[in-house]
């Protein structure tokens, strides 16, 4: 049987496309992926709010103020972490068995790890989690490293507890945190351990 010349052949074109695909695919496939990302519905956000309010997030990430009946969370600064304008004095020197101390806001903790400050969890893009993706958030909680890759998340953040959240729970918490009012508050970086505190 005589073959006609114009018969399309699989190989050369498929190869050409395989090479071209990464460039071609960037827009279309990324758009697809973006569509799958966190379009949170109201029920998910509500689930996240429930988890945040029952899992002790406010205890450390919402600064305390002194109320009529003692310390209470300052909800005007809800989940915005250690206040940037609150300078901390050097931590107290502790004697064994005492190991850690915390500031009146409950947002600064001193211990063998140095001094840690609680993070701004609001969706402010420059000082909070506004630019974080769900993957960044989930990997942080799962691994106890910033965004799953970087420095360790310091005590007293109860990573060993929170890493047991399901993916769905973490997605709900993330959705809720992205829905709350953004607060611009640049939390200071942690202080390294001093020899005296570290007892080393």
């Amino acid at each position: 049987m005589k073959r006609r010349l114009e018969r399309p052949r699989a190989r050369p074109l498929a190869l050409a496309l395989a090479l071209a695909l990464p460039a071609l695919a960037a827009t279309a496939l990324q758009a697809l992926a973006a569509g799958v990302t966190e379009k949170a519905d109201a029920a998910t956000v509500e689930r996240g709010r429930y988890l945040v309010s029952t899992s002790a997030c406010h205890d450390c990430h919402t600064p305390w103020k002194m109320g009529a009946k003692g310390p209470e969370p300052d909800m005007t600064r809800m989940l915005s972490g250690h206040p940037q304008d609150l300078a901390v004095s050097p931590p107290p020197k502790l004697q064994a068995p005492w190991m850690a101390a915390f500031a009146a806001t409950n947002t600064a903790w001193s211990g063998p790890w140095g001094v840690s400050f609680t993070a701004n969890l609001t969706p402010d893009p420059e000082t909070g989690l506004g630019k974080w993706t769900l993957r960044n958030f989930t990997e942080t909680i799962r691994t106890g490293r910033h965004m799953g890759r970087g420095r360790p998340v310091l005590p007293p953040m109860p990573i060993p507890v929170y890493r047991n959240f399901t993916d769905a729970d973490l997605a709900a918490i993330y959705a809720y945190l992205q829905s709350i009012p953004p607060i611009s508050n640049r939390v200071p970086e942690p202080l390294p351990p001093s020899d005296k505190v570290a007892g080393n």
Binding site: L15, L29, P192
Partner: protein, 654 residues
């Protein structure tokens, strides 16, 4: 409702069903679905209607109904089934009818699921007849290939989607493994040692969805897809794992079985023979990475088995225990000794010849340890290098990296497992340097180590491994097109002078270990685009030491793009500079006044330098694996910022 409409033929079947589900499941709802079926009141058709599809009745043998089904459609998924009637002439008429109807309806993008016309490959016999004496060699292949002309002639912008062997067919009575005389299951594919491209039927539809999303860019093109290229033996091994029963591959044609009978068995045998004799052409034409690009959920054979083994067991007359490990292939535990990973000749520390040494041009700084590295691919396999920055390593790939301070301290080990996943481990050497044992999962500190900072040496934990290696798209960091470029950067800090025995892009390609490597990368080896030598080396240093995390995928939110691609005309460089120069740092070092990531002319005011230099463990970068600042590397970065960047800032403005 102005969403473009896609008409899907065979929407209640496995391939079309995959596409229908993808259209309906897209959260952006970019397309509307018209599901074509002969039986609109069948349960699958009703389910599609419930999910939001327009269900219409049409029959491929009734061209006017086909035309009606395409009316007003933007796209059409065109597919025919040979096995239903086993008449090549009828299938050809149906396909030609689809092409005509698409033209008449003004369809703007058709995806035609096709196969090779094997008569283009298999020479006709002297009498001009195909080997079987019939008009066709493999009728259901030949006809689809022949029908390509109808689509070309129709003028409809068409993507020719070359599909692969559908693993779903393994549950069909004609192909399902059967027990042999000894009671063991036998899979009869007659493909010898050749790899057979295979795919989950639903993935064909999901890949088609990717094609519709890309639109005219892929019109007029041929795209070949596969989930995996596997030999009969590899398929039998995975079947055995999934079923919990021994399965062997027999290099024999399938037995004639109902409902296909002897003619069907002959056709299947001819199909397998074609794949055996033209293995290279068939596999080359069907790219796994291409399919994954179109459809990120692409299943491997193991993944397909995990989903379908219950159906398969039913077809085989097996009852599967429910708690059989959820289809996960049994992974052997990590060897307790480095020698058992296959690095050395038994009883020696002589590296086995098949383990190929290499040295990346931009190595990671690890407190001044000296390193040696090797890779081994399974015999006869190759890396799919079609995507220059995301090489696809074959299952069974092993890599080793030895760290030494005078004596070997640890050898890290990465292995790609049969199920496609990767595992990481490290082995700690004895002081005599004669043997190394598997280190604990949570790491280990070795001391004293002469020459190491503080006399201590810390082995990473398994979680440490993942922190860096899971950052980029491929978990192998130092073995890539850029890192192995023969055009090596003479200013790269700590780079090992390449030895003759070290592999690079060219030698690997010559050995046949890089499949589909773009020729352009051999003609012009990858080289970081930079205005001068210092910039090139500094960007390379940041790539090798920072880019595995600071890329778009892993830490997108940080907006710091330090990874370099192998060939992108300087785009990586522009993006790196744009994300560094003059950008306000979110991180504010306590011990420095810097607030800008990179301040040209002023390394002392650049957070990048401050974080490379500091000894504060909660500020230092990289965050692990470094205790001692890299003076040579930091010196290079400082020199780049101080002397070069002030005059190259314009590159940032593009």
């Amino acid at each position: 409702m102005s969403r473009p409409l896609i008409t899907v033929f065979g929407a209640t079947g496995a391939q079309g069903g995959g596409l229908a589900a993808a259209i309906l499941g897209d959260p952006e709802r970019r397309f509307a679905l018209r599901a074509v079926t002969r039986r609109p009141d069948s349960p699958p058709a009703l389910a599609l209607a419930w999910a939001g599809a327009e269900v219409v009745a049409a029959d491929l043998d009734d061209e006017s109904s086909v035309r009606r089904a395409m009316r007003g459609a933007h796209g059409a998924f065109c597919t025919t089934s040979a096995w239903e009637h086993r008449s090549p002439e009828r299938e050809l008429r149906q396909a030609q009818g689809l092409a005509r109807a698409a033209r008449e309806a003004g369809v703007r993008h058709a995806v035609w699921t096709t196969l090779e016309d094997t008569r283009d490959f298999i020479p006709a016999r002297e009498d001009g007849m195909a080997p079987s004496g019939a008009r066709y060699n493999v009728p259901h292949y030949d006809v689809k290939g022949e029908a390509n002309h109808a689509f070309v002639a129709s003028g409809v912008p068409t993507t020719f989607l070359y599909t692969s062997f559908r693993w779903d067919c393994l549950a069909h009575p004609a192909l399902a493994p059967r027990r042999g005389p000894q009671g063991h299951f036998a899979l009869r594919l007659a493909t010898g040692n050749a790899r057979l491209p295979g795919i989950a039927a639903a993935d064909i539809g999901r890949c088609a969805y990717g094609l519709f999303g890309m639109g005219e860019e892929v019109a007029g093109k041929s795209v070949g897809i596969a989930g995996e290229h596997l030999t009969g033996r590899q398929m039998a091994e995975q079947l055995a794992l999934a079923l919990g029963e021994p399965v062997t591959h027999l290099d024999l044609p399938p037995e004639p079985r109902e409902p296909l009978g002897p003619a069907g068995a002959t056709e299947l045998a001819a199909m397998f023979r074609f794949h055996r004799d033209y293995e290279r052409a068939c596999c080359d034409a069907r790219s796994v990475s291409c399919a994954r690009e179109l459809n990120p959920r692409l299943l491997t054979f193991a993944g397909w088995l995990a989903l379908h083994k219950a159906r398969l067991a039913l077809a085989l007359g097996l009852s599967l225990p429910l708690a059989s490990g959820a289809g996960a292939p049994a992974i052997p535990p990590l060897p307790a000794s480095l020698h058992d990973t296959g690095l050395f000749e038994p009883g020696t520390t002589t590296v086995r010849a098949e383990n190929l040494p290499f040295s990346p041009q931009y190595p990671l700084w690890s407190d001044g340890t000296t390193k040696r590295r090797w890779i081994r691919l399974p015999a006869g396999s190759a890396i799919d290098a079609s995507r220059p920055d995301a090489w696809e390593f074959p299952r069974g790939t092993r890599l080793w990296k030895e760290f030494a301070f005078g004596r070997p301290l640890e050898t890290r080990y990465i292995e790609r497992l049969a199920d496609g996943s990767w595992r990481f481990a490290t082995y700690v050497w004895n002081e005599a340097g004669t043997a190394a044992a598997l280190a604990p999962e949570d790491g280990l500190e070795v001391r004293p180590v002469i020459g190491a900072p503080g006399g201590r040496y810390a082995l990473p934990s398994r979680a440490d491994c993942l922190a860096c290696h899971e950052g980029p798209s491929v978990p192998v960091l130092g073995f890539s097109a850029l890192q192995l470029s023969p055009d090596r950067d003479p200013l790269a800090p700590h780079a090992q002078a390449p030895r003759p025995e070290h592999e690079n892009l060219a030698t690997l390609s010559r050995r046949g270990l890089l499949r589909d490597l773009p020729q352009a990368l051999l003609d012009r080896p990858p080289r970081i685009a930079a205005p001068d030598a210092t910039s090139r080396a500094a960007l390379g240093y940041l790539h090798g030491n920072c880019g595995h995390c600071h890329n778009d995928g892993a830490l997108g939110g940080v907006e710091l793009a330090l990874a370099q691609k192998a060939a992108d005309d300087g785009e990586s460089t522009r993006r790196a500079l744009a994300s560094l120069v003059g950008r306000t740092s979110r991180f504010r070092p306590r011990d420095a006044a810097a607030v800008t990531r990179v301040q040209p002319g002023h390394p002392e005011s650049s957070v990048l330098v401050a974080r490379l230099k500091t000894t504060n463990p909660s500020a230092r970068m990289p965050p692990l694996g470094v205790q001692v600042a890299d003076r040579e590397g930091i010196g290079l970065v400082e020199r780049w910022i101080r002397e070069v960047l002030p005059s190259t800032r314009n590159i940032n403005l593009e």
